[in-house]
Symmetry: C2
Amino acid sequence: MPTYRLTLEYDGTRYRGWQEQKNAVTVQGELRKAIEAYLGAAVELGGSGRTDAGVHALAQVAHLRVARELRGEALLRETNDRLPADIHLLGAARAPERFHARHTAVARSYLYQISRRRTAFAKRYVWWVKRELDVAALAAAAQELRGRHDFAAFCERPEEQTSTVVELERAEVAEAGDLVLVRIVASHFLWKMVRRLIGALAAAGAGELRAGDIGRLLRGEQVAGFVPARATAPPSGLFLERVLYPGDEALGALEPAFPVPRNA
Amino acid sequence: MPTYRLTLEYDGTRYRGWQEQKNAVTVQGELRKAIEAYLGAAVELGGSGRTDAGVHALAQVAHLRVARELRGEALLRETNDRLPADIHLLGAARAPERFHARHTAVARSYLYQISRRRTAFAKRYVWWVKRELDVAALAAAAQELRGRHDFAAFCERPEEQTSTVVELERAEVAEAGDLVLVRIVASHFLWKMVRRLIGALAAAGAGELRAGDIGRLLRGEQVAGFVPARATAPPSGLFLERVLYPGDEALGALEPAFPVPRNA
């Protein structure tokens, strides 16, 4: 069947996540409605993976299989005309029939925006951390995440996973004005893993975790006074930044999705 | 009386503009409520000028006169704790008693964000212009605005103004990704003037106005098929960027308040 690779951005604030559910407004559900209204036919539509309620995407990827050939440009325009304002289709290109948004993907990149100040504009797109943050300590803690580890301590319901071992390819930290940006790249992620890692990194930046503590948690040891699940960062600051497929361009420099406006 | 210079940012989407009104939620009204709740006393509070309903500010300035001395830091923190999430006090500094936010100001700078694409994130902060824009033509038209002109054609209710002559100091145009930014600086502005100028500049960029047409409108001539009031740009893209007082630092480079996220 003709297959298309769709790329889309969304503001997740209003949605119960990506994945279609009964009795809940989801991004996949809205996208399906828009495409099926345009084509007047049912389609097969699958995303690269779930994003949780309130999480945003700069470039979620989905595959679309339809019974007839379409022009990518018309699909893009007609779908956007039917989508709610907070979902936007960026691209629609013909793909090989074997293309599967989840199975073909080789890596996912997440971007997290921590704001060091209150902001009138970007509240939906940051986590405002009031504690004083030592960015060097936060960045050092991020280095402890790299490599192959058992992330059970940073996962919701680890008992439901086949495996909680993940190879974490990159954990980058950068400052951009009043924002602290964190990018985490891995082949796959566990439930709530990114938000729990960010919560732990913020705790390291605030001096609540010491050098080596993240490594201890990854080895299944306890760290007195710290429970990753209680430190989970809110979804507002989280963006699915890129989904990478074989042959895709490499990730660019770590930049904010939404800078907090420069101070006057 | 002890006088303070307040600097604040706000997302104007929810507000009926800056200026206090009976039976309407305004930025000045919310700011007064927060300060008076903290101090437990009535205060004198005046802004640099009105911003219309839906218009944002990166750095609106107000003067605050109170009966007793305050510490700027406490005023900042306690006021922000009481403000709605879409208004944020950036600074509060002791000022000379003669400081008056409106009368002491020597110039105002407005920033306008035109987006050349639909965006899931920044709808509240841009005007999405679907027409193809020639940015060089738009920038050339902006040059016609510079200098001393009668802006009656670009003003709502010109008959209520003492004078519609304004010296327009700067009209700058820049591209930033999918955004076209326009900055307009003048000592003062007439009602709806910026939004009507932006509407005319967009028409020039779209080829609906020709070179010299803006000059014709400024000389009170008619331009067939073009009525500035009907081309008024929406408030969503407009930000009061800076209010300049004697001795203030000059304006920096023209940059977006909110870039539309880079395309995947």
